[in-house]
């Protein structure tokens, strides 16, 4: 799950939890608030009543009677005065039932003992609990609406902020890992962020990529230097053997004995040449500015290799549209790529076999060149390693040091082409080169 999704879910769920808790707690809270408020209200009312009694005198209300009672029209509130005989004199507030004109009501009642002319009176001020409840539900509803509104707003703000906050993470992954292509030559620019953790991650990745870059550079340099250093001794050895071969005192039998040496020397030369060639490609020593007709190039390759095809009686079928031009490539490298592939298709073909070269392009899609042969094929387990250096299929009898396909791979990677190989043992091999659409220009015919 994406980090943003996780955070979003967490934020939403946690807020939802708060809402649920609050909804359950709300009646109690509101009940508590109105309860407290009613008590306060009754105390205030008591003060007012006492003030009025003080001013007007108790008799004004009793008017010779021993009790006084007054209530509002709907009996939500009442006040009563009655003589009190027993001793306690503290104020109490309690909920109790009163019967007024045959109606029974639940009241919140404040009782107060009043001293007047050495007589004790009991003052009661009551308020029906039903009125208290009415306020309750109203209050609850408004609180709930306000709460939901606030929470929605805060979720929105949270999401926006989270989105902005974690945006550098995506950028770091994109620029440092996903978009950086082998052999990681371009220098990396730090992603701008004020989050220290992301800065740390970014820095660490840059350091890591630099280390990888350095290691690759060292490897390339080593291959290049080592191969160069080998060229001179090989040169001496070769010229030495050549001189020996031309020595007139040598018999033909003796000359023949030199052949294994010459063979080995030649093998050494080929390996060093191929390694140098690969390291030259990997060191960007080829300019990619040519515009090449792939049809003409393949035709040229087939002409170059025609004698080898004749030897094996191999048919070459070229079904590539002649209107397709490939831009921004190095012609020599592309030639080499096709040459090696067609050469392999000959080398590993059967007698009287066929080599077919086709192309394929859907509009706006990458352009694909497919080279297939009817040869010995590659075992399924070996397909993944054919492009590696110094690997060769065990089936082939002819020598070959596995650098041909490494060169092909290097050239493909250098240009940004994709290359893949499919094969059926004993049936043949198919190599596909996928060239991004940006390289393709269709010649207007």
């Amino acid at each position: 799950m994406k980090l943003l999704t996780k955070l979003t879910l967490f934020i939403t769920l946690s807020k939802l939890l708060i809402v649920v808790l609050f909804v359950f707690a709300l009646p109690m809270l509101v009940g508590r608030v109105s309860f407290q408020y009613t008590n306060y209200y009754l105390t205030q009312q008591k003060k007012k009543v006492l003030d009025v009694i003080q001013r007007n005198g108790l008799e004004y209300y009793l008017q010779g009677d021993s009790t006084y009672g007054s209530y509002t029209m709907l009996k939500e509130e009442y006040i009563s005065l009655s003589p009190r005989i027993d001793g306690f004199s503290k104020d109490t507030i309690e909920t109790s039932q009163r019967i007024i004109e045959n109606d029974t009501f639940n009241y919140r009642v404040l009782t107060h003992v009043l001293n007047s002319d050495s007589r004790k009176y009991l003052l009661e001020i009551g308020k029906t609990t039903a009125t208290i409840g009415e306020y309750n539900s109203l209050l609850q509803r408004f609180t709930l609406y306000a709460l939901i509104g606030l929470i929605l707003l805060s979720i929105l703000v949270d999401l926006l902020y989270t989105n902005i906050l974690i945006r550098p993470l995506g950028k770091i992954v994109r620029t440092k890992l996903r978009d950086s292509k082998f052999p990681f030559k371009e220098s990396l620019v730090p992603v701008e962020t004020s989050t220290t953790d992301f800065k740390f991650l970014d820095r660490s990745l840059i350091d890591l990529m630099e280390k990888i870059h350095e290691a690759f550079a060292k490897e390339r340099e080593f291959t290049s230097n080592a191969s160069h250093e080998l060229l001179t001794p090989i040169s001496i050895l070769q010229n030495n053997i050549e001189n020996l071969m031309m020595d007139e005192s040598l018999s033909e039998q003796q000359q023949e004995k030199l052949m294994p040496m010459i063979n080995t020397l030649n093998r050494l030369k080929k390996i060093v040449h191929s390694l140098l060639y690969i390291s030259r490609i990997e060191n960007d020593q080829f300019v990619k500015k040519d515009v090449v007709s792939i049809h003409d190039l393949l035709l040229e390759v087939s002409e170059e290799l025609s004698s080898r095809m004749e030897m094996k009686d191999v048919q070459f079928v070229l079904e590539v549209s002649s209107g397709v031009m490939i831009t921004d490539v190095n012609r020599d490298l592309l030639f080499q790529l096709c040459y090696n592939l067609v050469n392999n298709a000959i080398k590993y073909n059967k007698e009287h076999g066929t080599i077919t070269v086709k192309d394929h392009q859907a509009h706006g899609q990458p352009y694909t060149i497919i080279i297939s042969d009817t040869g010995v094929g590659v075992a399924a387990g070996e397909i993944s390693t054919v492009f590696n250096r110094f690997k060769k299929t065990g089936k082939s009898k002819s020598e070959g040091f596995g650098l041909g396909l490494s060169i092909v791979k290097s050239i493909a990677v250098y240009h940004g082409f994709e290359i893949s190989l499919a094969s059926q043992l004993g049936e043949g091999t198919t190599v596909s080169i996928v060239i991004p659409a940006s390289f393709i220009k269709n010649k207007i015919l």
Binding site: H228, N240, E242, E256, S274, K347, L403
Partner: protein, 224 residues
């Protein structure tokens, strides 16, 4: 013909020298740029074989200087640096040819002869080969004024063998000459045999070609 070999690798210089002396060239060897300039001040050379990786001076810079000292000499650059850029620079500075190490001595000789031929004009370019005449300039082979149709590669191969007549030539040497600098892993395979077979077939339609010998296990030889 006088040749100066400017090469800091003594063993290599000696092999080249040994080979050229068999072909009646006179050789001097210089291990450094300083030695080379000293020698050039005293002697005139027909050929200067120049290694680019000298200990005291870059070969390309030396080439620029020595062009003034020996303006008539032909320059061939010998180098382990295979860069195309170096090659272009060298040829720009007036070098006549360029050979990448490791090179075949036979290839060196054939390049030197090609330069000589180019510089001296039409100096006896028609060579007898059995009952055939080979015109190296027009790249044609004739049997009693009738031209034999050989492919480009076949003609290259034949003229190369003719140049090194009476010498055993290995398949490697022959394929290296016709596939040359081209980066092909399989140029040493027996593909050369197909070309020889074709040459034999085409020529023997006119006259016997017993001079084109197969050396079992080694390669081929033109024996005249």
């Amino acid at each position: 013909m006088k040749v100066l070999i400017v090469e800091d690798e003594k063993a290599l210089a000696k092999e080249v020298c040994k080979f050229l002396e068999k072909g009646f060239y006179l050789c001097d060897i210089a291990g450094t740029a300083t030695d080379a300039t000293d020698l050039m001040e005293v002697n005139q050379y027909d050929f200067i074989l120049l290694d680019l990786g000298l200990p005291d001076k870059d070969g390309l810079l030396l080439l620029d200087d020595t062009k003034k000292l020996c303006p008539d000499a032909s320059y061939i650059i010998l180098t382990a640096r295979g860069d195309l850029e170096d090659r272009i620079k060298g040829l720009d500075l007036g070098a006549d040819d360029y050979l990448a190490k490791p090179f075949s001595l036979l290839e060196l000789q054939s390049r030197m002869q090609a330069i000589t031929r180019r510089k001296s004009g039409n100096n006896d370019p028609v060579i007898e080969l059995g009952e055939f005449n080979v015109d190296l300039n027009k790249r044609a082979i004739k049997h009693q004024s009738k031209e034999v149709d050989l492919s480009r590669k076949e003609f290259d191969l034949l003229s190369y063998m003719l140049l090194h007549k009476n010498r055993p030539l290995t398949r490697f040497q022959l394929s290296e000459h016709i596939w040359g600098n081209f980066n092909d892993e399989d140029y040493d395979s027996n593909y050369i045999d197909v070309h020889i077979k074709n040459i034999r077939k085409k020529l023997s339609a006119y006259a016997p070609v017993e001079w084109l010998q197969t050396l079992r296990g080694i390669g081929y030889k033109i024996k005249l």
